[in-house]
């Protein structure tokens, strides 16, 4: 079992980051994530939003090859998450379902508001890798954790990409609103 952890600070408010997190996919940096479905969602008695999602990823090979070697066309992972809007904490826990009899990759992400700056958000990531319940040997461990570091960086870049996208949408809406106003006002002034 290898534990890999990483911390990162986003220069955006927790509200912005968490909103973007739901819209993280699709993004050009994680092309293998092909499907995402919400299996369950509810608000608990404490006002926390609980979600259970199913993620499908392609193998990076044609579907027919996957079938040929006896795999489903997609690999599946299950993600459980809780949004605590009062304390501004968003935790996500995901693990693979496919090949779980061989290998288990378990990842936890926690987005929380920066303790001193409300315009910043902390992301803490932690992952464990277990092969058939036994610890991985060193070389394979290193390969997995290197891949995770790489993916974590991509994940963060993906978040920045989505945050930019949302901000761009907001700017475009503002521009359109201004245009409408400009069209209306001169006409009324000339009356």
């Amino acid at each position: 079992m290898r534990i890999w952890t990483s911390e990162h600070t986003f220069e955006h408010s927790w509200d912005t980051v968490v909103t973007a997190a739901w819209r993280k996919y699709p993004n050009p940096l994680n092309p293998s994530v092909v499907g995402l479905d919400v299996l369950d969602r509810s608000i608990d008695a404490e006002g926390k939003l609980k979600s259970h999602r199913l993620m499908s990823t392609s193998w990076g090979m044609p579907g027919w090859v996957a079938k040929l070697i006896g795999m489903q066309e997609s690999a599946f992972a299950s993600e459980h998450s809780v949004v605590d809007p009062e304390n501004k904490i968003f935790t996500l826990n995901s693990r693979n379902l496919t090949l779980s009899n061989v290998l288990t990759v378990n990842e936890q992400l926690t987005y929380s508001q920066h303790p001193t700056d409300p315009n910043k958000t902390l992301l803490k990531q932690e992952a464990t890798v277990t092969v058939s319940g036994l610890p991985l040997c060193n070389r394979l461990e290193k390969m997995m954790t290197d891949a995770m570091t790489n993916n974590a960086n991509k994940g963060r870049q993906a978040m920045e990409f989505v945050i930019d996208k949302i901000k761009k949408e907001a700017r475009e809406l503002t521009t359109e609103a201004h245009k409408c106003m400009d069209n209306v006002l001169p006409k009324t002034n000339s009356l």
Partner: protein, 84 residues
């Protein structure tokens, strides 16, 4: 208003695609504008129920029992721990 949701994710069930899109749009809007501002009522629930039924049906057809798979994963962790 210009449709800014050009890229969308797929659903596990092709037939659920439209339902998923509508539910996701409802959820994203409600989450940012209402939930984060303290409102607990989720007006997207009716949309979600229909979408959820579709996904359950698609998973059944693909013979994917998610609950069973999750139980198996937990079982693997519990049963195959190396002796400490």
């Amino acid at each position: 208003m210009k449709d800014t949701h050009i890229l969308t994710m797929n659903s596990v069930g092709v037939e659920c695609q439209e339902l998923k899109k509508r539910y996701d749009e409802c959820f994203n809007k409600w989450f940012a504008e209402k939930f984060l501002k303290g409102h607990r009522d989720d007006p997207c629930q009716p949309l979600f129920k229909v979408y959820q039924e579709c996904v359950k049906k698609a998973l059944k057809e693909k013979k994917l029992d998610i609950e069973q798979m999750e139980i198996q994963v937990l079982g693997t962790d519990n049963e195959k721990q190396p002796p400490s």
